[in-house]
């Protein structure tokens, strides 16, 4: 049984307040200083200490493996805010026991807009990984772990050998998530699945004092891993789990450091990168005719495109995209792609009501989903005007 620990690193380019009255002002949509300040804070609390601990664990435990995905927007911000974080990533990759995973450069919803946007963004990401790390990923993940039969076909076309997906019962039909599967639509693409109960024990529940397993020790957790039958266990989570979602005082960093030694006490357990895990023979083909994600009870795209605000904003982005593709202007194209980052749509999520909204606001950089929508639409409206202007089309309001 191999444990595949996969951690996702991403920071979006959050928008500045771009007022309706700012339309046509030439102001930037993005608040670079604020984004970098946020990045520096997270680097201090999470990226540096966690990467240092991973490096130490790799040095002390030759069998230990980690897989990482790093978005292009993350790297852009790291370069400006904390270049030493990139140095640490390079150091991790140079151990030869860390795999990097491909995805869209902008952590975007490009898979929902007309081609060739998706392959462009995946190509951009491939280029940045090659340039920064000399890496050439064999495994692809989509934003928010989105997966469908169509996306598997896309991965096959782009010559990826594997994809990551949620180990969701709805797609597995009673089969365990602890095996490697293949896509029914593209049998050469192997699927590595997230074991969500074990992933969420760390990602969500670790610091929850009301959890009946609290506190979770590395020893206890290794015991659970050892008791899980199958070939692979996919522990997929945000890198920010360590030190950010769960603060250092919760003991999450010590937990991570202690895990390899505790796992080593179970002789049948081992570690694998996502690429090493592709060596397993696929157990069966899997069919997912809709788009599955790793969020929500429904594991769909509801958190990004579930309400009218989100759909309206995304429709606007798609329409403007048509103009942007014709405008042939690097600045306009880049801004549009940054606006396609999934986080912007997440900020427009309206949860149940009242206090729940507060819980879900944790990840938001806005006071409310309405603020998020209005701001986004202003930026998109401005971008549309810029594109039209570039195309020489008179702007009718």
């Amino acid at each position: 049984m191999k444990i595949v620990l996969y951690l996702h690193l991403h920071q979006p380019w959050r928008l500045a307040r771009f007022r309706y009255l700012d339309l046509g002002s030439g102001r930037s949509y993005f608040d670079v200083d604020r984004n970098l300040a946020i990045f520096r804070g997270i680097a201090e609390r999470c990226y540096r200490p966690t990467m240092d601990r991973l490096l130490r664990a790799l040095a002390e435990h030759p069998e230990f493996r980690v897989s990482l995905s790093v978005t292009g927007t993350f790297l852009e911000q790291a370069r400006l805010a904390a270049p030493d974080v990139i140095d640490r990533l390079r150091e991790l990759y140079r151990t030869g026991r860390v795999a990097l995973v491909g995805e869209t450069y902008y952590h975007s919803l490009a898979f929902l807009v007309p081609p060739p946007e998706l392959s462009e963004e995946v190509r951009l990401h491939r280029e940045v990984l090659r340039k920064e790390f000399g890496a050439d990923p064999k495994v692809l993940r989509m934003t928010e772990l989105a997966y469908s039969d169509d996306l598997a076909r896309f991965a096959e076309g782009e010559r990826y050998q594997g994809m990551l997906a949620e180990g969701w019962e709805g797609a597995l039909h009673g089969q365990p998530p602890t095996h490697v599967y293949c896509a029914v639509s593209a049998p050469t693409v192997l699927l590595l699945l997230r074991h969500y109960p074990l992933s969420d024990d760390v990602g969500f529940r670790f610091s929850s004092t009301s959890w009946n397993e609290y506190p979770l020790t590395a020893e206890k957790y290794a015991g659970w891993l050892a008791a899980t039958p199958g070939d692979v266990i996919g522990l997929f989570m945000d890198f920010e789990t360590f030190g950010e979602h769960h603060a250092a005082r919760t003991g999450i960093l010590e937990f991570l450091s202690a895990l390899p030694a505790q796992v080593a006490r179970h002789p049948h357990l081992g570690w694998a990168t996502v690429e090493e895990a592709l060596g397993n023979k696929p157990r069966a083909p899997i069919s997912v005719p809709y788009t599955m994600s790793w969020a929500d009870q429904n594991r769909d795209l509801g958190a990004w495109l579930g309400n009218d605000l989100q759909r309206s904003a995304f429709e606007a982005a798609k329409k403007v995209g048509v103009l942007v593709q014709q405008a042939d202007d690097e600045g306009i194209l880049t801004d549009w792609r940054k606006l396609l980052t999934s986080d912007h749509f997440y900020y427009m999520y309206v949860s149940g009501h009242g206090a729940d909204q507060g819980v879900h606001q944790y990840f938001s950089s806005y006071e409310s989903p309405y603020d998020a929508y209005a701001n986004y639409m202003n930026a998109m409206t401005d971008l549309r005007r810029r594109a039209l202007d570039r195309l020489g089309v008179p702007i009718l309001k």
């Binding site: 007022r19 009255l21 958190a303 206090a355 409310s368 309405y370």
Partner: protein, 423 residues
Amino acid sequence: MRRRVPRAAPLDELAARQGARPGEGEFHRLVRPETAPRPLHIVLVGWEFPPHHTGGLGVHCYELVKELTKLGHRVTFLSPFPGPFTPVDGVTFRHPGDATGGTPAEYPPAYWEGRTPDSPFANATDGYNVWISKLDRLGPVDVVHVHDWFGTVGGAALAERLHRPMVMTVHSTEYDRSLGHPWDHILARELSGIRAATRVIAVSRHLRLQLVERYGADPRRVRVVYNAVRPTDRLERIDSTKRVVLYVGRLAAMKGVDTFLRAAQRVVPSFPDVLFVIAGEGPEYARLIQLAATLGIGDRVMFLGKVSDEEREVLLSGSSVFVLPSVVEPFGIAALEAMAAGVPTIVSKTSGVAEISTGTFRVDFWDVEEFASRIAELLEYPTLRRAMGEMGQWEALREGWPERARETVTVYLDAMRAFGSGP
């Protein structure tokens, strides 16, 4: 950064965003609304009462006594004015000049005239207090509940004579009404009420904080009970060639109507189909008309003067955006009424309404550009208008006067226990 993680203590975080201090959490939630073990008799020391009212206080008292009597309690409502009073079952109205003697005050009261101790206004309130302090034949009383400063002195004397606790509800403060230039005559009465009251009710957290910081109130004695609106029959949305951005409220300096007009000036060039409508009267009326003309938007702003409740509902049903730009707004019931009518609403951050709504835009009262942008965004994006209208309506109506009355009763019981008189 994309998965939804349930956090351990989000309420404190939320409360902090809304201006509460650490640990205060949802302090305004009276942990378990209590039911009185027996019917109470409350002497409510009021001021205006429908059909006459100029602000939130009269409406608050009307809705409160209605719900209190529904809960089985008895209310004696005191007013300096001879009425008429909209009758409510279980409520006895008493005023100077009835069988108990004294001289009634004239209605409407001249709030904004004559800030001298011998002005007709001061005389009327003084007479009211003397009358209250001498009031008898009330039968057994459980709580004397004073609203704002008008009857604090008389109410405190009455409570002391009856050996009963006094509860004081503060709807707004003299500091705020005077934009920082309080009249000491009124300030003294506010202070004496806050000191004499066993429990104080503030209509928002913001106001509660002010009572603690500026009036030296003991935070443990100050509770928050928000205002509410009563659901009414919704009128059909009115379609017209002009779209309306609406303000309803008194035209006083603290209401920030200047900001509304300056924002209008920024919006009108982009939206030729939009009309800015101001409904209400007050001391600023003439100056605001002048300002609209000076800003060059005289033809885009309509001043309606005072409107009736029915007219206001019609106005709301035909409005695209409601704006409450107040410099100071302890609660802001007009905004809650707009929300209840499904009109997307922009409020200033300092208002009480801002504390209990997420489906509104909340703007710094001085930020003309932001008000203008928010108005324009609502006019421009129909999906936003619809979504905020729906959320605002839900938030305005999820709790109503019945809940507020139960919270008030809980404060009564708390006061009675603290005073040692019951329940």
